[in-house]
């Protein structure tokens, strides 16, 4: 289980990194999106996985069962998901504007202000 998850997360990270190394603007955005998926999964894995133990207090209980899944990482990931959604939306708009303003999506052409 642990190994499978590790390999999965590693693969998503690798794919994200590979996309970030491309020269096209669009692939850059895909890379950023994948990166956030990888991190969310890592967070989930680091917090510890539980099957069949939702972090709700059962109707007849007053406290969360000790065997229940840890709710805190879930709250963190929820925050992270929403933040990455906002960031992704902005990145898309930015890439669109960059493409419009510069007339190219090749990152190698986007160094007129950063040329050596």
């Amino acid at each position: 289980m642990e190994l499978l998850l590790a390999v999965t997360i590693g693969t998503v990270y690798a794919a994200a990194f590979y996309l970030l190394l491309r020269r096209g603007l669009v692939k850059l955005v895909l890379g950023i999106a994948l990166l956030s998926q990888a991190v969310n999964l890592l967070l989930f894995a680091a917090g510890g996985l539980r099957e069949g133990a939702v972090p709700f207090i059962a109707a007849d209980e007053t406290t969360l069962a000790a065997t229940g899944a840890d709710p805190l990482p879930q709250a963190l990931i929820l925050t992270a998901i929403v933040i990455s959604f906002g960031v992704l939306a902005f990145t898309l708009a930015m890439v669109h504007r960059a493409d419009q303003s510069t007339g190219t999506d090749d990152l190698d052409d986007l160094k007129s202000t950063d040329a050596p």
Partner: protein, 505 residues
């Protein structure tokens, strides 16, 4: 009810008000500048509350620590919030004359206040994940501010800025998750205790490395600084100035906070690494600056170089060194933001940021020459200006021989001195090119080129910041004393930990 809460609420409310009144230019400017003024008052109040060395803890939601989120005001936070508010107000006033109506109507002041929210939140929070959230608030506002307007240079800079900072954020988030998984807590004071108890030292150090990269990138440390010189010279000047003053310093703050509170289990390795990186940062930055002929790009490279000094002080990890770092940060924020503001004024008069084309300002605008000279020489470390004391403190700490790094500390002190000379070289380059040199055709500055009202709005913040620099210069003891006591608090985190974790009565 102490000022900590209001340091968060003020920019948040101001941003919300700005957002609700986007259509009205008057309201934008009113809330924009007014919000900053209120924030400054709050920051002064906060500083007066923490000045006696007490650690203010606000438990949000009234949940005891470490269960809820706490905001913690100690001397370092107080100093950082205060200087941020000063820069915020200065830049907001400057923006009145610098930011065009279109940017204003599309939420410039909203983003500015949200950025201040993120900055103040990062300085005050006592919770590592909450810090991540504030970092994101700050970052996304800075993304927008960086690209607002959509001009080609801005977009070229923004793409790099955004991508690299998002990588840093993802590492930060991953590191938070690891810390929580290993210790079961997110409260930084609690982390300081539990990370020792629960985590294998190597694992803790590995997590420290993730934080080092995450914060180091935000702080623009070697070799993670590329986004800064690629982008800081592209947005409007007011934006460059507030970025130059505050953003990298949030990264430095986060490094200071975590590497004095949590990651002190293997100082020889972690801080030794910081020491080496600090040296490389100082050198790479200043060398980059030496060959620039774009006013703002030159200043941008210098930010990198000076981040090296700040990290050096942290790395040396002695009371004097950390105090000097705190002093350095305060001095640097004031000076660097001011230099960017000045670059904007010269560009307004001369029509360009190109040093080769600018010229003749010494004769045309002697007041501006004076206002430039003060921060520039301060940055160059000329005594008795503020930069000298900052540098002196760090070099003295390096030469003091009481660090754990022995000869390396001495080597770094020598590097710091040499880099200081090269910094002076760059500053005199600007002075010689922009002020002394005869004006070039088509870029002749003329004192009457800007209407009086706008001129006042541009010059007043610059003059105020220069006056502050002079105040630090002539009464350094007053400021250094705060820095020294802040360092004392940082190096003896027991007080901080106790204040945060003590049970609510």
């Amino acid at each position: 009810m102490n000022a900590v809460t209001f340091a968060i609420l003020t920019p948040l409310v101001a941003a919300t008000l700005c957002m609700l009144t986007l259509r009205s230019g008057v309201a934008q400017r009113l809330f924009g500048v007014g919000g900053m003024a209120v924030l400054l008052l709050v920051a002064v109040r906060l500083m007066s509350e923490v000045a006696d060395g007490s650690v203010l803890v606000v438990r949000f939601g009234d949940w005891p620590a470490p269960f809820g989120i706490v905001l913690v005001g100690d001397l370092l936070s107080g100093i950082m919030v205060l200087v941020s508010a000063i820069i915020g107000l200065a830049v907001a006033v400057y923006s009145l004359a610098d930011i065009d109506a279109r940017r204003e109507r599309f939420g410039y002041y909203t983003f500015l206040h949200f950025m201040m929210l993120g900055v103040c939140g990062s300085f005050l929070t006592g919770d590592i994940f909450n810090m991540f959230v504030w970092f994101e608030v700050m970052l996304i506002s800075s993304f927008v501010l960086m690209s607002l307007g959509g001009e080609r240079p801005q977009m070229e800079g923004a793409v790099k800025y955004v991508t690299l900072n998002l990588i840093s954020s993802s590492l930060f988030l991953a590191a938070c998750g690891i810390l929580y998984g290993q210790t079961g807590t997110l409260n930084m004071a609690d982390l300081a205790v539990r990370s020792r108890e629960y985590m294998r030292p190597e694992l803790l150090t590995m997590t420290a490395m993730l934080f080092l990269v995450a914060f180091g990138l935000k702080a623009a440390m070697f070799p993670l600084f590329f986004w800064l010189p690629a982008s800081y010279h592209t947005p409007p000047v007011a934006v460059s100035a507030v970025f130059a003053g505050l953003l990298t310093k949030v990264g430095v703050y986060a490094l200071i906070r975590t590497f004095t509170l949590i990651f002190t289990n293997d100082v020889v390795f972690t801080h030794g690494l910081l020491l080496g990186l600090a040296g490389a940062t100082m050198i790479a930055g200043v060398l980059g600056a030496m060959i620039q002929f774009d006013f703002r790009r030159l200043l941008s490279f210098h930010i990198v170089s000076q981040i090296g000094y700040m990290v050096l002080g942290l790395a040396l990890f002695t009371p004097l060194a950390v105090a000097a770092t705190v002093f350095y940060i305060f001095h640097h924020i004031v000076v660097k933001a001011n230099l960017f503001l000045i670059s904007g004024i010269t560009a307004r008069y001369g029509g360009t940021f190109d040093l080769k084309k600018l010229g003749g300002f010494y004769a045309a605008l002697p007041l501006l020459a004076l206002l430039f000279f003060i921060p520039a020489m301060s940055l160059g470390g000329i005594p008795p200006l503020s930069g000298f004391f900052a540098k002196f403190g760090i070099v003295k700490a390096g030469l003091a021989g009481d660090t754990v790094f022995g000869g390396w500390a001495v080597v770094l002190a020598v590097v710091a001195l040499a880099v200081g000379l090269l910094t002076l070289f760059s500053m005199t380059k600007i002075w010689a090119e922009v002020f002394w040199k005869a004006p070039t055709e088509g870029h002749v500055p003329h004192g009457g080129a800007i209407p009086a009202g706008e001129k006042f709005l541009l010059f007043a913040p610059v003059a105020a910041l220069a006056a502050l620099t002079l105040a630090i210069s002539f009464f350094p003891q007053y400021f250094f004393d705060f820095a020294a006591r802040a360092a004392e608090q940082l190096l003896h985190p027991e007080t901080y930990i106790k204040a945060v974790l003590e049970p609510v009565p």
